[in-house]
């Protein structure tokens, strides 16, 4: 069982904060990861900044652009992760969220090998449907890296089945905005696959996380956290408190 699979083997709902590496700089990111790991995160989803993140909204795009302006690149992100593993004593699983071109440019296989060596546990590539993922899938399999596939509420039943077959740790579920009945139906369709399900949430109220956690196995905290880190004068403290509040809510209510 991989480190990521183990997270979902436990009863508690997985709490997965998403942050963009290098915003405002990589030292700050290392401090944030350390704090989040100690305040209740089960997995850290670490975004590798990309100039044209079409699968994200403006909050993440702006964060990416700040990170790039600070000189962040994927090699430096991996070096930071390696350092957290070797010196920082951080064992919390880390999933890299990385756009395909960043990975492709470094060479699929070589990037996966380097990421594995650095201590990354999984990859999530938002612009890579399974049809195009054959090479990466093989490279991940050879390195023992988890590759997390996305399911959309628009995906056909055949596609959902294939996604569930291919994904190795959990499924990242993307509903279409604002349609609640469809959301329940979508999750029910995916439940038959027996893979752990995660979903993003963009609000800052713990109640919202609880509602979501009643549907899925893991909650990914996205825009609200990225924005908070940018806005707060004490980002590490603020992010830690926020994640801790979500942790408490999930553990008591679910």
């Amino acid at each position: 069982m991989s480190r990521l699979q183990k997270v979902f083997a436990s009863d508690r709902k997985a709490l997965i904060p998403f942050i963009v590496a290098g915003d405002p700089n990589l030292d700050a990111t290392a401090a944030l990861i350390t704090e989040l790991a100690h305040r209740g995160a089960d997995i850290i989803e670490l975004g590798v900044p990309f100039s044209d993140p079409v699968a994200n909204g403006p909050i993440v795009q702006e964060s990416c652009l700040r990170a790039l302006a600070a000189g962040t690149d994927s090699n430096k992100v991996l070096a930071m992760v390696a350092n957290l593993r070797n010196e920082g004593g951080i064992t919390t699983p880390i999933v890299l969220f990385i756009y395909y071109n960043c990975l492709y440019r470094r060479g699929c296989r070589s990037f996966v090998e380097k990421a594995t060596a650095a201590g990354v546990n999984g990859l999530m590539v938002p612009d890579l449907p399974f049809e195009e993922a054959v090479e990466l899938h093989q490279a991940c399999q050879d390195s023992g890296m988890d590759l997390i596939y996305t399911a959309a509420s628009t995906s056909t039943p055949q596609r959902l089945r294939r996604i569930a077959e291919l994904t190795t740790a959990f499924i990242y579920c993307v509903p279409l905005a604002g349609v609640n009945d469809e959301l329940t139906a979508f999750i029910e369709r995916l439940r038959t696959t027996n893979k752990p399900l995660t979903m993003g949430f963009d609000r800052s109220e713990p109640e919202q996380a609880i509602r979501l956690a009643s549907l899925v196995d893991g909650v990914i905290v996205e825009n609200a956290l990225v924005q908070m880190i940018h806005d707060s004068p004490e980002p590490v403290q603020a992010a830690g408190d926020f994640v801790h509040s979500l942790r408490k809510a999930l553990d008591t209510k679910v």
């Binding site: 403006p58 395909y100 938002p126 612009d127 890579l128 449907p129 195009e132 996305t150 959309a152």
Partner: protein, 396 residues
Amino acid sequence: MSDSNGHFGVYGGQFVPETLMVALGELEQAYEQAAADPAFHEELNYYLQQYSGRPTPLYLAKRLTEHLGGAAIYLKREDLNHTGAHKINNTLGQALLARRMGKKRIIAETGAGQHGVATATVAAMFGLACEIYMGEEDVRRQELNVFRMRLLGAEVKPVSSGSKTLKDATNEALRDWVTNVKSTYYIIGSVVGPHPYPTMVRNFQSVIGKETMEQLPNLPDWVIACVGGGSNAMGIFHAFVPHPEVRLVGVEAAGEGLSTNKHAAALTMGTRGVLHGSLSYILHDEDGQILPAHSVSAGLDYPGVGPEHSCLKDSGRAQYTTVTDDEALEAFCSLCHLEGIIPALESAHALAYAMKLAPRRPKDETIVVCLSGRGDKDVQQVADILASNRSRRESH
């Protein structure tokens, strides 16, 4: 020409969020059905002829040819289309398809504004709601086209992220489509994006080359077109690809020079990468970050290129070269003086290369230049540049 997932050799494909995969499948299916339906072609031809004014003339540029003293230069007059560029060949086709698919809302990205205008135009004619994404920088550079789109009833949405040009407008349009995929049809303006767009847009534009072939008594020796995303070039190349004796030349924007990094020459200077849904030559750094492109012409100011061009480059079937801002401006002025035609700055790139080539080729050779658009949209910008060049010369 491409496999079932839309690959041209290694290029092309569908590098998009899962959210869009089913929509792309539906689009592909609807397009294939339409393409096999004679009634669709009949309707499209009706609008191409009666609304846009096709066929466009193939004009022998006599004074230009005599001035250069070599091969004969013919201009394929796409500038004479309704709205002033080749872009409407594609927007008519896609709007008809959107209507067949029952979509009521249309979105598009635009650089120079020509594709935005062509989209707003057909949306008005077919009674569809229309929103156009345009980089803030381009909104500033192409004020006239912004006003045109608004007159035509479209909503122009300025995009302030990234380099504020075509690439960012495309990002924003893709985001919109991800969110509103059920109600919305996305009319991509060039042979770029995920499959089936590169094939579909090329097919809608291929009318340019088909007409050219019919209009000439013999095959031409050279066919030259500018390459932004590459739709006018693919459109005029397509019919000639099976005829190896016809040399195909795509002209990219060298901007301020290839050594300055202020250019838009993805095929000439780029390497393989993924941008906006397909694998192709792109301009990016060693970390895979997309580099800003530059050209005096907004329509060529794009760091990627259609995947079929990448394939044609690798196979050697087409050659790709570049022309600088200054050379394009000179060609722009020459065509005005010698032929009484004001070309788009984009098209002036193709023309500039033809003007370099013609004097070196014998008089019995023919060169066809795709004059992709007219230059009315550019006259203010050219006036400003010429004025600032003049004052720079005077101060020396």
